[in-house]
Amino acid sequence: MISNKIEERRDLALRLTRITKRFGTLTANDNVDLSLHEGEVVALLGENGAGKTTLMNILFGHYLADQGEIEVFGKSIPKGDPRAALDSGIGMVHQHFALVEEMNVLENIVLGTENLLAIKSQKNTAREKIRDLSSSVGLDVNPDAIVGSLSVGEKQRVEILKALYRGARILILDEPTAVLTPFEAEKLFATLKVLVSDGLSAIFISHKLNEAMEISDRVVVLRKGRVVGEKITRDSNPEELSSLMVGAEIEAPDISDPVLGEVALELENISTSIPEMRINLRKVSLRLNCGKITGLAGVSGNGQAALASLISGTTQVKEGTMRIFGEIPERWSPKVAISKSIARIPEDRLHTGMIGDMSVVENIISEKYWTDRFSRFGFLTRQASEDFSREVIKNYDVKCPSIETPVRLLSGGNIQKLILGRVLDESPLIILANQPTRGLDVGAVAYVHSQLLKARDRGAAILLISDDLEEILQLSDRISVISNGRLSKITRRGELGVKELGALMTRHVPSSERLNDAA
């Protein structure tokens, strides 16, 4: 911990003044000021879409700011030039690693440090330097390994080494723990502490409060592109930061008692055989009642994908019977599923849920464009789809510049709201919510939860598949655990806690994936 007095005496490593960046009509950064002292760790905290990554991309020269100044160690650096940023001592660890997977660690690190007209790459000298560097800071990586064969944690180490190899004195880490296991994250924090004690300064981008509290000396909170708060970490607390981030206190959802409705979807001894899936369903029986949320917990890769695929209509039943409101569907396809009032919130929202390059309005009608509502004699009725889009955007609080904006330009939370709106606005009777809050920030998570509960109270039967046990426990009226393609006995709300569920989840896990034996 550093006292205020020392901090004042320290030299300024970095100063951003009045940075503004617009993408079309969206203002990603609005007059942002940020400073960083030598040997200091600043956490840049904010929800998804708050403008954290944009700001750092401007600092690193990937984006050109519309306005503002960047000063590194007292010198102004030209904007929009990564080379200048690197030369001034800034190193960046990208959230989506900027690594060439097909090349080895050495080539990735050395890339750009040698004269491009040299006749031969000095690989041996570089290899020695990398070995020395990695042993001195405890970042263990084999320089000759192909990057594509490394684990995510190792790739991140390569990214850090890349920066250190060039003599970076300021390290920017963009959501570094998003891809790491808890164990790897701990290792990263340890490494960072070593580096900082050697005089490195760091900006740590995150939307996780506890991380910001643990690693930083100072926290800067961004919301909607603006700096809304700056706190010395040890004088602050998670509650304060959270309300700064979100702009309002988040209340835990109020859950009413379930009303037992009729059986909407019934699976009886269902097995699947999908060749591309490692784990298929094995004699699974499950009932989804109207007015209830059924939570499906499990370590990912235990058959959740097969179950979701079956209910979505992309997979056929191999054995067993599936009934929807008592009827066995004659044919089974995504189109049939939609017509049976099944709403699908897919696991991978940008790749299976939406078509990134197509507009908001096209995506909103993409599940139903052929219906009479949106087309006449094979021609789309523009007015109907635009009206529906505006309604979804308004009712589900989607922030987008216009309904013609390509979906890929929206933040994760807004894309998820769009998907929710697309399916929930139709008042579906059965809802498949597969990882509905994965990667979303606090505010968006609360919103998704409230919408799911609303649908439940309206009488929909909901299957909630999630890796997040807290979420399952919080929302579900009934819980089942999937493990190795089989379902456990259904339990009611409150019967099991996190520990018991955890034990059920790991009981039948294939030995290669077993983390700890919970017997």
């Binding site: 990564p82 090349m103 050395v110 750009g112």
Partner: protein, 313 residues
């Protein structure tokens, strides 16, 4: 039996290497472009332009090597056009490439007509003469084929090694491979993606043009319309066949050339039974088959044909 005896004749092997030479130049050129992530379908037109530029330089009184240099410069110029449209502007590489081919071919024919309006049959030049290497050229069967060719053929073989060295051993080669795989990684290391891609396309196009010039200055001694005759497209396939690796692409070029040399000779053996078109077709059919077998596990550059525009989200 006669069909097999062809394989044992020195002339077959000499022809094979001669036919392969222009393909090697142009394939290396295309490979360089594609490793940097730019498909260059301008190849057919660039070869035409190179064939004419080299030949005309010599016809107008220039030295043979000056002709090669002018051909390379001409190719580079068209490469820069293709590069400018596809790299900084990020236009479709397919459409631009075909446009470049049409542009280069048409301009070449136009200039030919303007410069030589009165000629009915194209004038001839003194092409590169074979340069036999002592002793080595006397090895039976392959000696003449490998060591009694023109200097340009030797250059083609040296080029393969050079390109392989550049790609795998030099900082520039690392940058070229990296922009072909993940341009964002290159930019984040402070190298300009535009600079690397443009350079690769310019140099690659120069090599294609030299491949074209080989035809007018080494294989033949004159310039004809349609003389490239799809060789550029063959080279595109050879790059895939070679899995974007110089050594394998060289083997592909020799294999294709061998089919070509073989079918000509086979025509004189069984030509009275089988229509000659079947023989003409043979190298192409065989390359399609070889392509199907080889490109199953082709490791194509991940960013091939994907424009990289800085600052886009």
């Amino acid at each position: 039996m006669e069909a097999l005896e062809i394989l044992l004749s020195a002339s077959f092997w000499i022809a094979t290497i001669r036919i392969a030479s222009p393909l090697i130049f142009a394939t290396m050129g295309e490979l360089l472009c594609e490793r940097a992530g730019v498909l260059n379908l301008g190849i057919e037109g660039i070869m035409t332009a190179g064939a004419f530029a080299g030949w005309y330089t010599v016809y107008a009184g220039g030295d043979l090597w000056l002709g090669v240099a002018i051909a390379a410069l001409t190719g580079m110029m068209f490469g820069l056009i293709h590069g400018f449209l596809t790299v900084p502007l990020g236009l479709s590489q397919h459409v631009t490439g075909i446009g470049t081919t049409l542009l280069a071919t048409s301009i070449t024919y136009f200039i030919y007509r303007v410069l030589l309006p009165q000629e009915t049959s194209p004038p001839k030049i003194d092409p590169f003469a074979p340069l036999p290497i002592p002793f080595l050229s006397e090895i039976p069967l392959i000696g003449q084929a490998l060591f009694a060719q023109t200097p340009l053929t030797y250059l083609a073989f040296i080029l393969v090694g050079t390109i392989a060295w550049i790609l795998n051993r030099t900082p520039a080669g690392t940058a070229i491979r990296a922009v072909g795989e993940n341009p964002a990684a290159v930019e984040s290391q402070g190298i300009s993606v535009t600079l690397v891609r443009m350079s690769a396309v310019a140099v690659g196009s120069a090599l294609m043009a030299v491949g074209g010039a080989f035809l007018t200055m080494s294989a033949f001694n004159s310039f004809f319309f349609e003389m490239i005759n799809g060789r550029g497209w063959v080279c595109i396939a050879l790059v895939v066949f070679g899995s974007w690796k110089p050594g394998k692409a060289l083997l592909g070029a020799i294999l294709f050339a061998a089919f070509d040399a073989y079918q000509v000779r086979l025509q004189s053996v069984v030509g009275n039974v089988v229509p000659y078109q079947v023989f003409l077709m043979m190298p192409y059919v065989l390359s399609i088959l070889a392509l199907i077998v080889m490109s199953r596990r082709a490791g194509y550059p991940k960013a091939l044909m994907i424009p990289y525009l800085k600052g886009e989200r």
